[in-house]
């Protein structure tokens, strides 16, 4: 089995043992979606979809469910990736110093992020579809996947300078709230301000709203998500490459004279 396959297999096995993340996935996501859909007003609200400039009307419960789902999946994948990156920080260094190919470990990390994001986003989207029929369910799934990837990469970045698991979890929760609350057209009057375009969840929320309430395949907001993902992934991988530098590998020979 190749170095990449061994590393990916073990990284996924280790991630699957994260009990807190499993509880959050199984219980927290359905709970959030159910609460948002059943306890929020179904009264319709007019709002302008910033990505297209068009005015839409949608139920407060549906808008809140979308925003709540993005909130839940972002903190879950962010925490999963933070936890994995923090746990393996010193071990990766030892493995690479012993000769493990760094590209294989990087490939395993990207695979873990992708698998976790696909699973969590598919699960959350499926729960939303139980309560509601968006006009473009596939695009909704893509939007949820995008925020999972962005927050997963953010979790890997946070592990560079936050030591404790609780510190990481709290930071990710606060970031997700600060990110999504001002963008929710029901809860915030600032949802249409230009500044919201800078937020990491902008691409996903705009695309989710477009997927839910229009027939336009609006994917341009996802460019914002792609930029956030690239910036954070580059930071995390550059830090990994820097930290796993070794001045001598166990297989090099240099005989003293």
């Amino acid at each position: 089995m190749s170095a990449y396959l061994v590393a990916s297999r073990y990284a996924l096995l280790a991630m699957a043992k994260n009990r807190l993340a499993a509880v959050l996935l199984i219980a927290f996501i359905p709970m959030w979606i159910t609460v948002a859909k059943t306890l929020t007003t179904p009264k319709t609200f007019p709002f302008r979809l910033r990505a297209t400039g068009t005015w839409l009307r949608a139920g407060g419960d549906e808008i809140t469910m979308i925003s709540g789902s993005l909130n839940a999946v972002s903190l879950l994948v962010g925490f999963l990736m933070f936890s994995a990156a923090r746990r393996t920080r010193a071990f990766d260094r030892r493995l690479t110093a012993s000769g493990y190919p760094r590209a294989a470990l990087i490939g395993a990390k990207l695979t873990t992020l992708l698998v976790a994001s696909v699973l969590v986003s598919a699960y959350a989207t499926a729960w939303m579809l139980l309560f509601w029929t968006p006009l473009q369910p596939f695009l909704l799934g893509i939007a949820v996947l995008a925020i999972c990837l962005v927050y997963g990469a953010m979790g890997m970045c946070l592990a560079l300078f936050l030591r404790g698991e609780v510190e990481g979890l709290v930071t990710i929760i606060m970031t997700s709230i600060i990110d999504l609350a001002p963008q929710n057209p029901v809860a915030s009057t600032a949802a249409d301000r230009a500044l919201v375009e800078l937020l990491p969840g902008y691409g996903s929320l705009q695309t989710s709203l477009a997927a839910g309430f229009t027939r336009n395949a609006t994917v341009s907001p996802l460019i914002h998500s792609a930029l956030w993902l690239t910036a954070m992934m580059t930071t995390a991988l550059a830090a990994f490459a820097l930290r796993t530098r070794n001045h001598r590998t166990p297989r090099r020979r240099r005989a003293p004279s």
């Binding site: 073990y10 012993s98 070794n246």
Partner: protein
């Protein structure tokens, strides 16, 4: 000479930890480096393993090496066998024969499928040590290698060290304790960032 360390200096900020350390080691030698807590022993071993770059000086090391860090550096979620498998890939070993023999010699075979997070401190240290020895390196760098070992395992460790020496391997052992120095061929004291060579004590 398989290891030659010349005038190695290393500082962390304004604190000069190593101030020109130099020593040599030949094939088949057991070399001890002792010093008080904070004397710079771990820093020296990290420089020798390539984990840290010295500010000045040279480390010349011939052949393969294995490094056992002071605190077990493992992935708590993985089992002992999974650790061995990862390091088999890292060292490009065709099989796990030697690793499993070492695990057996240290009486840890019963823990092969146990995740690291539930292992005792002593068993973690056994795995930590095996990961440094499983590719049969020519130079072995061990930082407090027997901490947490029970008496039986401690004795087996020294049997293992003698076996390595007998096969021409060089073993560098760093410790804050200067007991059992009779088992060593050379003993150095690290004081104030410099090494004082001293003859080994008589075997007890």
């Amino acid at each position: 000479m398989v290891l030659r360390v010349t005038a190695v200096r290393k500082a962390f900020g304004s604190r000069q930890v190593l101030r020109g350390v130099g020593f040599e080691a030949r094939a088949g030698q057991l070399v001890g480096i002792v010093g008080e807590n904070g004397a710079g022993k771990t820093t020296l071993l990290r420089v020798l393993s390539g984990d840290l770059r010295p500010d000045d000086g040279r480390v010349e090391l011939a052949g393969t090496w294995g490094y056992c860090p002071q605190h077990p550096v493992l992935d708590e979620e993985l089992t002992v066998r999974q650790h061995l498998r990862l390091f088999q890939v890292a060292y490009r070993l065709p099989d796990l024969g030697r690793a499993l023999r070492l695990i057996d010699a240290l009486s840890a075979t019963g823990y092969l499928d146990t995740p690291a997070k539930v292992l005792s401190g002593g068993t973690l240290q056994k795995l930590n040590l095996v990961l440094a020895l499983m590719h049969d390196p020519e130079v072995v760098l061990l930082d407090e290698p027997y901490q947490g070992f029970d008496w039986e395992t401690y004795l087996r460790f020294w049997d293992l060290a003698q076996e390595l020496k007998g096969r021409g391997r060089t073993v560098i052992i760093v410790s804050h304790l200067a007991h059992d120095t009779g088992r060593l061929d050379v003993l150095h004291h690290l004081r104030d960032g410099l090494l004082d060579p001293s003859p080994p004590a008589d075997p007890a």
